[in-house]
Symmetry: C2
Subunit: 473 residues, 2 copies
């Protein structure tokens, strides 16, 4: 049955080409390799290749081999049957996934994106640091940079803390795969499934997902668009629920952009420490302050090590590197143990590259320029929104970061605006992403990091028109 064997092989190869394992122009495995892999004779394999050639699926190039023909590939996506029942409940918000995916479409103006404009980063300089770091990389670098992570990088981060008046030893810092990991590990360390956690309302959707994933219960504390989490409401919640941890952003909160006033910082820390509640400070935006006044994290209010201060380079330097950290004080070793069980360690070459860049890449110069550009872009977009949106729409005006929070009015459904805007090539982040309930269904978050120009101007006009139509019914 030689004939059926070669036909089977041809079908297999054709299927692989349809599944895009091999793209037009790719060279297929050689006859010899295919014989070896399949256990078939050279004659059988040759017949299969010739059959595919006769069907126009592949072409032979003399002295070189067989190649996938151009243009013949069908752009069908492989869709295997779904059989198993997945047990994980992931229903905080399916929209989050779609919105993140929409941000990958270059045709869409990504005002719904959580990422800053990627052209704002010193990529050529980072590439140089990476190239230089890997040239000097020792073969032992994989084990030498296991948790807590690269020593030079931890020291550079500790120096930046020191320059901001915060005492953190390099040994208290654990390098992670982005702030998402450091926040997740911190939450895991201080809670057990079923525990209560105090969070902001609205909150960064990653908080909601992490809480759901760990089967925790959340108390959403009212959070003001200017002054952040309400200390009185927090105190009441602490007296009512056996809260184990509080996860919050003290500067340029996502999505509101709010920053805690100094006196509220002190009071919040006092309240939480009096109730022996762990503090997880998500502080990824604090480098992006406008003007000359630095953002001061909760971590600076006391030297107490209970504040798990989580940050990263993803918002201000190198989004794709996925390098973050937690200043975990006495808990650094526990965090390391949890990390060893989840991702083992952060990627080594990018740690070395950042260590090099922080030493000599001009990070502060970059940050100064970045802050200035973000401030200008926020102003331009804020101005346009005030001018073009209906008068009932209120807009935040944060002193840092790159988000604006718009309250469109009770009678507007932001999820509908999201759908209509996406159809017109503009993404936004609807308020429902930032809460487990419908409380913010009439709000949206807008990313202001993109250059003000025809695309962004058109995007704002599109949104303003949609909101106007929605209000007028």
């Amino acid at each position: 049955m030689t004939e059926s064997r070669y036909a089977t092989l041809a079908r297999t190869l054709r299927k692989q080409i349809e599944m895009q394992v091999w793209l037009p122009g790719d060279r297929l495995p050689s006859l010899r390799d295919t014989c070896k892999q399949s256990g078939l004779s050279l004659m059988t394999v040759l017949q299969a290749y010739q059959l595919l050639e006769s069907q126009g699926v592949i072409v032979a190039r003399p002295q070189s081999g067989y190649y996938v023909a151009a243009g013949l590939q069908r752009p069908v996506r492989h869709q295997p049957d779904e059989r198993l029942h997945a047990a994980e409940q992931i229903d905080v918000n399916d929209a989050i996934f779609d919105i993140l995916k929409a941000g990958q479409d270059p045709a869409v103006v990504p005002l719904g994106s959580a990422f800053p404009d990627p052209t704002l980063f010193p990529q050529p300089r980072l590439a140089r640091s990476l190239a230089s770091a890997v040239r000097r990389m020792s073969p032992h670098s994989a084990t030498a940079n296991l948790p807590p992570g690269n020593e030079e990088l931890r020291r550079s981060i500790a120096q930046r803390y020191a320059q901001n008046g915060i005492q953190v030893a390099p040994d208290e810092i654990v390098i992670t795969s982005g702030a998402m990991e450091s926040l997740g590990l911190s939450l895991q360390m201080v809670t057990e499934p079923g525990d209560w956690v105090a969070i902001e309302s609205p909150a960064f959707y990653g908080v909601l997902q992490a809480i759901e994933r760990r089967k925790l219960k959340a108390v959403a504390i009212p959070t003001d668009v200017r002054f952040g989490m309400d200390p009185d409401a927090l105190e009441k919640a602490l007296d009512t629920y056996p809260i184990k941890a509080c996860w919050l952003m003290s500067s340029f909160q996502n999505p509101l952009g709010c920053t805690l006033p100094p006196e509220n910082k002190v009071r919040l820390v006092e309240i939480l420490q009096a109730h022996q509640v762990a503090i997880i400070e998500d502080d990824v935006y604090s480098e992006l302050y406008f003007g000359s006044e630095r953002a001061v994290p909760l971590k600076a209010t006391s030297y107490r090590s209970e504040i798990l201060h989580c940050s990263s380079f993803s918002k201000c330097l190198a989004p794709g590197f996925r390098v973050g950290w937690v200043a975990a004080g006495a808990y650094a070793e526990r965090i390391q143990r949890l990390q060893l069980m989840s991702t083992l360690s952060a990627s080594v070459p990018v740690q070395l590259a950042l260590a090099d860049y922080l030493q000599q890449g001009g990070y502060d110069t970059h940050l100064r320029r970045l802050r200035r550009v973000l401030e200008q872009r926020q102003m331009a977009m804020h101005h346009a929104i005030i001018k073009e949106f209906p008068a009932q729409v209120s807009v935040s005006q944060p002193k840092g970061g790159y988000f604006l929070w718009l309250d469109l009015g009770e009678n507007v459904d932001a999820a509908r605006i999201y759908q209509l805007a996406l159809a017109k090539g503009v993404s936004i982040a609807p308020g429902t992403m930032f809460s487990a309930d419908e409380r913010f269904r009439h709000c949206i978050r807008i990313n202001t990091s993109f250059e003000w120009g025809p695309h962004t101007a058109r995007a704002i006009s599109v949104l303003a028109a949609l909101v106007g139509e929605e209000i007028r019914g």
Copy 2:
């Protein structure tokens, strides 16, 4: 109280130097920066610096600034108070953490390490791929390479599957931060806390940790040092417990080195699928086969997408890159969603570097050499063990990977041998790491990937002598 202010600042700086935030020779922040940060006057800051100078802690260099004095630093590690009670139970094995740490000490012969000899990898070639990849990196690379990960890399992996006779579409693959993450996400997807999972006995300690972390219950299935997991025992377990998932290694299992015979592979998959049990295949060693016969994963036994096939480049190409994947079939999107909540995505530069390397780096040539070297080194160490260890000690002889499993005999306590050997500069992995109970307390795992020479020869002699003494009492 100017005097107390400058003294306070001097104390703060001195503390930072003691905490190793600033190392001998480091330049301290300029007077101007320190004024700005602290809000103190130039005079106060200058007095503080001069006080430290008079104490010999720092030195002034004209026209340059103040530097930490050489040799005056106290090597004290900062030890903040530990106050919070950490809620996570991590008691599978504290020894695991210590053993991983011991592997970082260059003075120890790391026979207990899970990592292969780092000099076995084509690091200069990988560095070239990395440098070339980052030069070509688009600013949009961070969002373009969000889960499922870099498309070229996924296609290269799919091509390698195809060449091994396994049909996997690039879209079914999700790139992760090492196999640890892909295994963890897979386990999370198919289980809920409290569920039962079938595992090998002994098992890779990462399995035990992941199960404990997710609050699962484990059924340990007897696993033979040559033939792997016992299908009859598995069938009995499936009839007794409501098992949701089975996590196993089909080739060169860690720690035993066993490989499932082809008929057992087919039977195990049939049994598991008949019971609708999810299969998580941890397949990180299968590229490291000896001789000419490839290792065939369970995934190859059927095209059914229920087998979550997890692997990485950490054991055979680039340990420090932390890049792995899962071929998740229809569940690829669910895995992506879980990943977005935990680490967001794998580091982008290293994904691009591996995509480049797999296209043109000579991976197969590297693997052929690596397999040959590992086989030679295993032979040398196996030979020495047979020759030097007491006759009651039995030794495995796997056909791939780089671990030997030694049964020292019921009367030997491997944990004691571990401690004694470490004191003599040799690490081993005691059997207690690979089980939740004491069942393997008389066994050890030895890493054979290191070059046979004076160091390794001495290490084996040290171990043989210790075991001999222990047996003789």
